[in-house]
């Protein structure tokens, strides 16, 4: 009994850590930049497949890929925002109109990225084994890769939290999230900060992708599911609240782990039910204003 509880708990923390990571990325893109980036999951998928390719073809360790995928995706995200979303933002009459048009544009990105991935990697389900020896903690047995993924997810998200709260750029980002116009008056280069935010969202996806590929099966159409989970977590934590997304990620991961223990097919349904109830009862989320 105790072993089962521990198993479900650690499983939940691992899922939660990854959910927190991807949700923080999305939260930054939407909370600051007002882009509900539905192609977020595609960035995760690209990270996961790049890691798979590097590992199976060149033997590069997935943990090294983490350091490669993150910055590369950051640059791609930065450039996409600088061109596509900045143009849309300048064209839009209101921020509401921008939110709608950027949502549709990111659907376009979703189709494009997914199609490119399907052409490059085909539609097959992929997986590889890395660090798959097991350790036992208090009689419960865990694969090492899962624990490593959890460790990295926690380290990355805490590092990111410290970056946002302690550095000058982090402060500029939070200022832009509160009030873009005033931030601009105070000397924040808003276009640059928004592009950095979008890039940081992609960076988080670039970190999450390799971790996901280490412990779960991957396929080119996996993106949307992760996007939806990220959206649920972001709303759960309160739109725009980074801390909320971190907490929300772990809550959803634990719930998912418990539900999966009883019936694996039911976890996505449980997420939607939680989400719909949340929107009806408390749409501002746990830490929303």
């Amino acid at each position: 009994m105790f072993v089962t509880v521990l198993d479900v708990l650690i499983g939940g923390l691992i899922m939660g850590g990854i959910y927190a990571l991807i949700a923080v990325g999305l939260s930054l893109q939407y909370g600051v930049g007002r882009v509900l980036n539905v192609s977020h999951g595609e960035f995760i998928m690209i990270g996961a497949f790049a890691t798979w390719s590097l590992y199976t073809l060149l033997g590069i360790s997935p943990l090294l890929s983490l350091v490669i995928c993150g910055p590369v995706l950051f640059m791609i995200g930065f450039l996409i925002h600088r061109t596509l979303f900045q143009y849309l933002r300048d064209q839009s009459e209101s921020i509401g109109a921008f939110a709608d048009s950027s949502l549709l544009a990111s659907f376009g990105l979703l189709f494009i990225i997914q199609n490119i991935a399907l052409l490059v990697w085909k539609a097959d389900i992929r997986a590889y084994s890395y660090l798959d020896s097991s350790v036992s903690i208090l009689d419960a047995v865990f694969a090492v890769n899962r624990l490593v993924a959890l460790l990295f997810a926690v380290v990355i998200s805490s590092g990111f939290y410290i970056f946002l709260t302690r550095t000058r750029l982090g402060k500029a980002i939070r200022a832009a999230a509160e009030d873009p116009t005033t931030a601009q008056v105070m000397g924040v280069n808003i276009h640059r900060v928004l592009a950095i935010c979008f890039g940081l969202g992609a960076l988080m996806a670039g970190f999450a992708g390799p971790l996901i590929s280490m412990i779960y099966e991957i396929q080119p159409t996996m993106g949307l599911e992760y996007t939806i989970i990220a959206i649920i977590v972001v709303v759960l934590g309160g739109l725009g609240s980074i801390t909320g997304s971190l907490i929300g990620g772990f809550i959803l991961g634990l719930v998912g782990s418990v539900v999966t223990y009883f019936d694996a097919g039911f976890s996505l349904i449980a997420y939607y039910v939680i989400f719909i109830l949340l929107l009806l009862i408390r749409p501002t989320g746990i830490l929303g204003k």
């Binding site: 549709l104 990105l109 199609n115 019936d263 719909i276 929107l279």
Partner: protein, 295 residues
């Protein structure tokens, strides 16, 4: 009128193509009935369509076709009323993701139900010949156009537009915003349900992934924006062009279809924010201005 006589002189393939195009036109026009003037972007089209499809699959064997279609429409109508009453408080992004989650919840729940409770994922639907499907689709098309036109011209349509402009102001001048929104949402769902019920008979085999395909929610939005939601003609035009384009792209470039589709989508959003109809209007207006301006 012209569309009704077409089957007399073209090949069966064209009838099937026209049926698909009309399906998208109906979905898009009914989406635009609600989302066009109110600017509440709904991603629940797949839910209403899917309800129609499953009504057809469950009742099709025991009831005559017209009854099945009406039943499918009514079930969608009722679901939309419930969703409408539940989502009173939600606006903007919350409304968009709520409607999306509803249809995804239904899809995932049915998938789970069919695999664990009934054991088979898919269901067979009684087949109806292509001509009958085509004529029924044509009738629904005529009805949805008529409804959209009447709503646009009525005081009801005016109320919808004022909700879209500013909801608080609309409430202050005595519009029951909740009632107006909910009823319009349900009317738009009615036609989506009808379309789902008849299209199921064309597909023969259905499962939750086909019936509640998220693309069915996205396509009407894209098509309506592509055509322009300001005019009645916009969504019709957008859907017809887009559906034809999709058909061509999927058959000619099956491997690059999504890539091309996504690129077109981004180009449309970047350069045609008011859609094709908006472009034509701007072009006409620009032409007039140029005539009036001094050289």
């Amino acid at each position: 009128m012209l569309l009704a006589t077409i089957p007399l002189y073209v090949q069966p393939y064209l009838i099937i193509l026209l049926t698909t195009i009309l399906m998208y036109v109906i979905l898009t026009v009914s989406w635009a009935i609600f989302s066009g003037p109110t600017r509440y972007i709904s991603l629940a089209s797949a839910a209403f369509f899917g309800i129609g499809v499953y009504t057809s699959a469950l009742l099709g064997k025991s009831l005559p076709l017209p009854v099945v279609i009406v039943a499918g429409s009514l079930f969608s109508f009722i679901l939309a009323l419930c969703i409408g009453l539940l989502t009173l408080r939600l606006r903007g992004m919350y409304f968009i993701i709520f409607t999306f989650s509803i249809s995804e919840l239904m899809r995932n729940f049915l998938l789970w139900w069919e695999t664990t409770m009934t054991g088979t994922v898919g269901r067979w639907v009684i087949i109806v010949d292509h001509m009958t499907v085509y004529y029924i689709i044509l009738v629904i098309f005529a009805l949805v156009l008529l409804t959209a036109h009447l709503i646009r011209r009525s005081r009801f349509g005016l109320a919808l537009r004022s909700i879209g402009e500013q909801e608080e102001a609309a409430s202050h001048i005595g519009i029951n915003a909740t009632l107006v929104k909910t009823i319009t949402f349900a009317i738009s769902a009615f036609f989506m349900g009808a379309t789902g019920a008849i299209m199921a008979t064309k597909w023969k085999y259905i499962d939750p992934r086909i019936a509640f395909d998220p693309l069915l929610s996205f396509m009407p939005v894209l098509m309506a924006i592509f055509g322009g939601t300001g005019q009645l003609f916009g969504p019709v035009f957008g859907a017809a062009v887009f559906a034809y384009l999709e058909e061509i792209l999927t058959t000619k470039f099956p491997y690059y279809y999504m890539l091309l589709f996504g690129s077109i989508l981004i180009v449309v959003i970047l350069f045609l924010p008011h859609g094709m109809v908006g472009l034509v209007q701007k072009w006409l207006k620009g032409g007039l201005n140029r005539q009036n301006a001094n050289p």
